[in-house]
C-alpha cells in the first residue's frame, strides 16, 4: 500500500515499497490520487517491471479526490496492513505541504504507517532499530512487532528506549540534598521501567531474538521528543512507535508524544497500530 505522487521521489518510493513486499512476502496496492493518463500508467508499469515480474502482487488504484481521504479509504477497503509514505525531512517551509498530508494520514489511518525519510533506489541495510518502551497498552504489541521486523530486515541491534517523564521524579533539584534524592529516585524509576520492559522481552519468542542484540536505554525527558533525538544521535535506521491514542487540534498547538517526531522526522518511522 503506497501513496504515489509524481514527484522526483516516485521511483525511490516505489522501489522501497517493492522491497518491503519482498521482505515480508506480501502484496502491494499502489494508490495514485489524480487523473489516470496513459503516460503515467506507463511510467509506473515500467518501474514495477524493473523490479519483479510477478504482477499479481501489485494492484494499482487510480482515484481522484482529497488525497488523505482517498488513501485512507483505499487502505481500509483493501484491508491493508501498512501504509507507506515518502516523507521529506524538513529543510525549508516549502516542503511542509507533503508533511501535512503525511501527518493527517498518520493520525487517521486504521493500520500501521511507515514514513520514509529518504526513500532510495538501492537497498539500504537496516542495522539498528529503536523502539519505544512507553508505559502504554500498545507497547507490548509494538515491541513484538519490531522484533519481527528486525528479523525480516536483518537488523542486528534493537534498542528499547524507556522515556521517563521528568515530572515522575517528583523532586525539584535545588541543592545537594535534593540532587541526591532526585538521583536516587531516578535510579528507582529506571529499575522499575527496566523490569517492566524485561517482562515484555520475556514474552518475545526466542527465535525472534536470535542474532539480535537487545539494549534498553532509559531517558529522562519529554515524551516522544527524546526518542526522536536519540534515534538521530545514535544514527538509527528505523524508529518504531506506538500509534497515538487520538489527536486533536490542541495536540498540534501543544505537541506531545508522536507530534514531535512528525514535526521533525529523525529517520524512517514506523507507527504501529
Amino acid at each position: 500500500m503506497i501513496g504515489v505522487a509524481f514527484s522526483p521521489n516516485l521511483k525511490n518510493n516505489v522501489y522501497e515499497a517493492m522491497r518491503m513486499v519482498d521482505f515480508f512476502d506480501s502484496k502491494m496496492v499502489l494508490v495514485h490520487v489524480g487523473k489516470k493518463t496513459e503516460q503515467k500508467e506507463d511510467t509506473i508499469k515500467r518501474l514495477i517491471s524493473g523490479f519483479s515480474d510477478d504482477t499479481d502482487r501489485v494492484k494499482i488504484v487510480w482515484r481522484e479526490g482529497d488525497p488523505v481521504r482517498v488513501i485512507i479509504d483505499t487502505a481500509s477497503e483493501n484491508n491493508a496492513d501498512l501504509i507507506m509514505l515518502g516523507a521529506t525531512p524538513r529543510e525549508d517551509f516549502l516542503k511542509f505541504y507533503i508533511g501535512s498530508i503525511a501527518r493527517k494520514i498518520t493520525r487517521q489511518a486504521h493500520c500501521s504507517v511507515l514514513l520514509l525519510v529518504k526513500p532510495s533506489e538501492d537497498l539500504r541495510p537496516c542495522h539498528h532499530i529503536v523502539v519505544n518502551g512507553l508505559k502504554a497498552e500498545k507497547t507490548k504489541q509494538t515491541i513484538l512487532a519490531s522484533f519481527e521486523i528486525a528479523q525480516n530486515l536483518g537488523a542486528q541491534q534493537l534498542t528499547i528506549v524507556e522515556e521517563i517523564s521528568e515530572q515522575e521524579v517528583q523532586v525539584i533539584i535545588e541543592d545537594d540534598k535534593s540532587l541526591i534524592k532526585a538521583t536516587k529516585r531516578k535510579e528507582q524509576l529506571t529499575e522499575k521501567e527496566h523490569s517492566r520492559v524485561q517482562k515484555i522481552l520475556k514474552a518475545v519468542p526466542e527465535d525472534c531474538k536470535n542474532d539480535i542484540r537487545v539494549k534498553t536505554q532509559p531517558i529522562f525527558g519529554k515524551r516522544g521528543y527524546s526518542i526522536g533525538h536519540y534515534a538521530r544521535v545514535i544514527g538509527a535506521d528505523l524508529l518504531v512507535m506506538n500509534a497515538p491514542k487520538k489527536t486533536s487540534f490542541w495536540d498540534r498547538l501543544f505537541p506531545h508524544d508522536i507530534e514531535h517526531i512528525l514535526g521533525e522526522l529523525p529517520t524512517d518511522v514506523l507507527i504501529i497500530r
Binding site: 535545588e174 519529554k222 538521530r232 544514527g235 514531535h260
Partner: protein, 750 residues
C-alpha cells in the same frame, strides 16, 4: 548525623566568628558609603547589612555568602530617592523604603515560584554592560564627592564632563577650606589602589576600607588633642549618625504605591537585586572550599524577607554581595554563621563607636566607592569582551550607552534586543530561532556501558533557551562524567559557552569531568575559545583550526604533556587507514586534531567518515589511535563479545578461541583469516592484558594496530585513557617475539 553536624559546627565556630569580624570591617565603611551614594541616611546601609546578615543566615539557602547593601542598587535607589518626591530627599527616602518593602514581597514570590531561572534569560554581555554602566554612574557621582564637591548634580554624562571642573576649582582661593577634605579623599583612593600591591603580613590583617576609616578617625583625634588648629573638615562633609539609631526608625510611606513611577522603581529594584544576588551566589559557590551547591530559590526568599524587615526599620534592601563574600571565604568562613556574626559586630561598632563614626569624612567614603565603580567599569573588562568578538563588544557598548542615557531597565532590554538582532544577523535569518524556540532541544541520557552522561543539543543554543540545557545539567551529580555534544546544533552563543565553562570548573573541582565536543567544526568570528560559534553551510569553506575550541586547547595540552606534536588542521590524506577492515566499507573524508609522538608511531586522530552513498549517506565522526609496530604481526580484529556495531560478516573470518583461555574466548570475538598464527600470537601475557583492561575495538592490518571505542568523538578524558591503554599494549606486544614463535611452530609441524 545530627550530632556530628553540631560538633562540626562548634569546631568551626571560632573561624566563622573571626571571618565575620573581618567582613564587618569592610561592611561598615561600604555600608555607609553605599547609603551616602544613594542619598539615603548613612546608617541605612549599616541597617541593611545587620538585618540582612541575621535574617539570611537563618532562612537562607547558601553557605558562605554575605548579604547587605549592594553596588548595583545604588543607581536605582539614587534615582528613586531623588525623583519619587520631586527632589525632597527625606520624603523620597520614605517612599523608597516602601518600594524596598514591595520589592521584598516580589522577591519572596520569585523564590517561592522558583523563578530564579529567569536570570538565565539575560545575555552575558548585556549583564556585563549593565554592571559596567552602574560602575560608571557610581564613579561619575562619587568622584565629585571625593574631591569635596558634594553639590554636584545631573546625569552621568554631565557629571563625568564636570570632573575636571571640580578638580580645578580646588585650586581657587574661595574653595581653600575644602582642600584638606579633598586630600583625605585622594589619599584614601591611593590606599585603595595600592593596598593590593602591599604584601606585608600585618598590614593586610585589616582590609583597606578599614585602614581608611582608622586613619581618618585618627586624624580627627590628632586635631582634637594635639593640634591647636580646628578640625579642617567642615561638619557637612562628615558622616551624620542619628543619636538614637535603634529606637527612632523612620516609617515607610506607602501613599504612592499605585503611581507608575513607584511601580517602575519596585520593578527595577527587584530586577537588579535578583540579578546581582544570583550572579553573586553563582560566583561564590565556585569559591566554596566545601563545594556545596546553594539553594538559590530559598536564598531569594530569605533576601526578600530581609529586604522587607530592613525597609521597615529604615534600611536599604538586602542583596548577596560578591566582594564581601569572597573576603569571608578567604578568612575561613565556612557556614552561614559568619554572615550572622558580621551583623553582630556591626551592631557592636554602631553602639560602641557612634561618636567615632561621626568623624569619618564623606570624601574618604567616596574614595572607596570611586574605586568600586572603577572596578566595575574597568577598561580591562572591555578588552576581555572585545577579545571574544566584535559582536559582543557591540552588545556591551549598546547596553552601557542605553543604561547611562536612559535607565537600567531600558538599558538591559536594549542589551537583550541587540543580542537578538546580532544573532539574527550572524545567522542571516531569524527562522532558525523562530521555528525552534519553543521546541525541546536537549537530549540527555546515561550511557549504559560506563555511566557517562551524554547530552546532545539540537537546533540552536543561546540565552533564549539555555534554561532547558541548564535544567538538565543541574540534575547531574557533579562527580560524574559528562560529554556534551553540539554537532547537531547550528548556533551556540557566548552566554551558553561561558556558563558551560562554569560547569566545567565545578565538575572538575568535585571530581567529575565535563567535556564539550562537536564545536570544533563550527565557524567563529574571533580567535577566542568562547567566541560565538555557527555551523557553516556547505558553500562556505571550512577552516578547522583557525581558532581552537576548549577541547582543542586541552588536546594541545595533552600532547605537550607527552611532549608529542598536535596538529588541529584537517588532513585529507588518510590512506594509512584504508586497509583496516573497519574502514573498508567506509569512505574516510579526512582526519583532524591529530596527535603524533616523536617518531610518528603513535597517532591519535578524530576521523570523519561516511557510510553508504548519496541520500543514504551517514556521516560519522570518531576518535582513533593507530600504533605502528614496526614489525610483522598477524591480521586480526578483536572485539568484545556482543558489541555488534563492529561485527563484520566477511567470508573466511570466524571466531578464534585461544586454547587454555576459555574465559577470554567467551568474552571476546577474535576474528582473522589465519587462525593458527593468531593463536600463536596471543600469548598468555597478551590475553591477560586484554582480560584485565577496558574494552576497545582493536584491529591489526599486519604491522599497525587500530584502537577505538565508540562511533563518536571521544572526550579528552577518554583520549587520555585510550593513550594509556595503547602505550601499555604496545609494550606488551613489543615483548612478543612473533617471528621466533612462527619459526618454532614451523619446525614443530612442518
Amino acid at each position: 548525623m545530627e550530632k556530628i553536624n553540631t560538633s562540626k559546627f562548634l569546631a568551626q565556630l571560632p573561624k566563622n566568628i573571626f571571618s565575620g569580624f573581618v567582613v564587618s570591617l569592610i561592611a561598615l565603611p561600604l555600608g555607609l558609603g553605599l547609603a551616602l551614594a544613594s542619598e539615603a541616611p548613612p546608617i541605612s546601609g549599616i541597617i541593611a547589612a545587620i538585618v540582612g546578615g541575621i535574617i539570611v543566615s537563618i532562612f537562607g539557602g547558601s553557605n558562605v555568602t554575605i548579604t547587605g547593601p549592594g553596588n548595583g542598587l545604588v543607581v536605582v535607589l539614587l534615582g528613586a530617592i531623588t525623583t519619587l518626591a520631586n527632589g525632597d530627599l527625606f520624603q523620597g527616602y520614605l517612599f523608597t523604603l516602601a518600594a524596598i518593602i514591595c520589592s521584598g514581597v516580589l522577591m519572596i514570590i520569585i523564590g517561592f515560584l522558583r523563578l530564579g531561572i529567569l536570570s538565565d534569560f539575560f545575555p552575558s554581555s548585556a549583564i556585563q554592560g549593565m554592571l559596567a554602566a552602574i560602575g560608571i554612574s557610581i564613579f561619575a557621582k562619587q568622584f565629585h564627592v571625593m574631591v569635596a564637591n558634594i553639590g554636584a548634580k545631573g546625569d552621568t554624562i554631565s557629571l563625568l564632563a564636570t570632573i575636571p571642573k571640580s578638580i580645578y576649582s580646588l585650586f581657587l582661593p574661595e574653595y581653600n577650606h575644602l582642600v584638606i577634605a579633598a586630600i583625605v579623599g585622594v589619599i584614601s583612593l591611593l590606599i585603595m589602589i595600592f593596598y593590593g600591591k602591599i604584601r606585608h603580613k600585618y598590614l593586610r590583617l585589616i582590609p583597606a576600607p578599614m585602614w581608611i576609616v582608622l586613619l581618618v578617625i585618627g586624624l580627627s583625634y590628632y586635631y582634637e588633642f594635639f593640634s591647636s588648629a580646628p578640625y579642617p573638615i567642615a561638619d557637612k562633609l562628615l558622616v551624620q549618625i542619628p543619636d538614637k539609631v535603634f529606637s527612632n526608625f523612620p516609617s515607610p510611606d506607602f501613599s504612592s504605591v499605585l503611581k507608575p513611577k513607584f511601580i517602575g522603581v519596585v520593578i527595577a529594584i527587584t530586577l537588579i537585586s535578583s540579578i546581582e544576588s544570583l550572579l553573586s551566589i553563582k560566583a561564590v559557590d565556585k569559591l566554596d572550599p566545601e563545594k556545596r551547591r546553594s539553594n538559590t530559590n530559598k536564598d531569594l526568599m530569605a533576601l526578600g524577607i530581609a529586604s522587607i524587615a530592613s525597609g521597615f526599620v529604615g534600611g536599604l534592601n538586602v542583596v548577596t554581595v560578591i566582594a564581601r563574600s569572597s573576603v569571608n571565604v578567604n578568612n575561613g568562613g565556612s557556614n552561614r554563621s559568619a554572615n550572622f556574626f558580621h551583623s553582630i559586630f556591626l551592631i557592636l561598632f554602631v553602639v560602641l563607636f557612634q561618636d567615632q563614626l561621626g568623624r569619618i569624612p564623606l570624601t574618604a567614603l567616596a574614595a572607596i566607592l570611586v574605586f568600586t565603580g572603577y572596578k566595575l567599569a574597568a577598561p580591562k573588562n572591555l578588552k576581555g569582551i572585545a577579545k571574544i568578538g566584535r559582536e559582543q563588544l557591540i552588545i556591551f557598548t549598546a547596553t552601557i550607552i542605553a543604561t547611562i542615557t536612559t535607565n537600567l531597565i531600558s538599558g538591559i532590554l536594549i542589551g537583550i534586543l541587540t543580542t537578538l538582532i546580532i544573532h539574527f544577523i550572524l545567522n542571516k535569518s531569524a527562522i532558525l530561532f523562530a521555528r525552534n524556540l519553543f521546541k525541546p532541544n536537549v537530549l540527555m541520557f546515561k550511557e549504559e556501558v560506563n555511566g557517562i552522561y551524554f547530552i546532545s543539543v539540537k537546533n540552536f543554543s543561546s540565552f533564549l533557551n539555555f534554561f532547558k540545557l541548564k535544567r538538565n545539567l543541574d540534575s547531574i551529580p557533579e562527580d560524574s562524567d559528562v560529554v556534551i555534544d553540539f554537532s547537531l546544533c547550528d548556533f551556540v552563543d557566548y552566554s551558553v559557552q561561558e556558563s558551560l565553562i562554569g560547569y566545567q570548573e565545578v565538575f572538575k573541582k568535585k571530581g567529575g569531568s565535563f567535556e564539550i565536543t562537536g564545536l570544533d567544526k563550527h565557524g567563529t568570528a574571533s580567535g577566542h575559545p568562547l567566541a560565538v560559534r555557527r555551523l557553516f553551510s556547505f558553500s562556505q569553506k571550512m577552516k578547522i583550526g583557525s581558532s581552537l575550541t576548549k577541547r582543542q586547547e586541552d588536546l594541545k595540552k595533552v600532547a605537550s604533556n607527552f611532549s608529542w606534536n598536535y596538529f588541529p588542521k584537517k588532513d585529507e590524506d588518510a590512506t594509512y587507514l584504508q586497509d583496516f577492515i573497519f574502514f573498508k566499507t567506509k569512505k574516510i573524508k579526512y582526519t583532524y586534531n591529530n596527535i603524533l609522538n616523536k617518531d610518528s608511531s603513535f597517532k591519535i586522530s578524530d576521523v570523519e567518515f561516511s557510510e553508504g552513498e548519496f541520500i543514504a549517506q551517514k556521516i560519522i565522526k570518531t576518535t582513533i589511535l593507530t600504533i605502528d609496530l614496526k614489525k610483522e604481526i598477524p591480521v586480526f580484529t578483536l572485539d568484545r563479545e556482543g558489541l555488534l556495531e563492529f561485527i563484520y560478516k566477511i567470508a573466511g573470518f570466524k571466531d578464534i578461541s585461544i586454547i587454555g583461555h576459555p574465559d577470554f574466548s567467551k568474552r571476546f570475538y577474535l576474528l582473522g583469516e589465519n587462525s593458527e598464527r593468531i593463536q600463536l600470537f596471543f600469548t598468555k601475557e597478551l590475553v591477560l592484558f586484554f582480560e584485565s583492561n577496558p574494552y576497545y575495538h582493536i584491529e591489526s592490518n599486519g604491522d599497525t594496530l587500530l584502537l577505538m571505542r565508540k562511533e563518536r568523538i571521544a572526550s579528552v578524558k577518554e583520549i587520555k585513557e585510550l593513550l594509556d591503554f595503547g602505550v601499555r599494549l604496545e609494550k606488551i606486544i613489543s615483548k612478543i617475539n612473533y617471528n621466533e614463535l612462527l619459526l618454532k611452530s614451523v619446525q614443530i609441524k612442518p
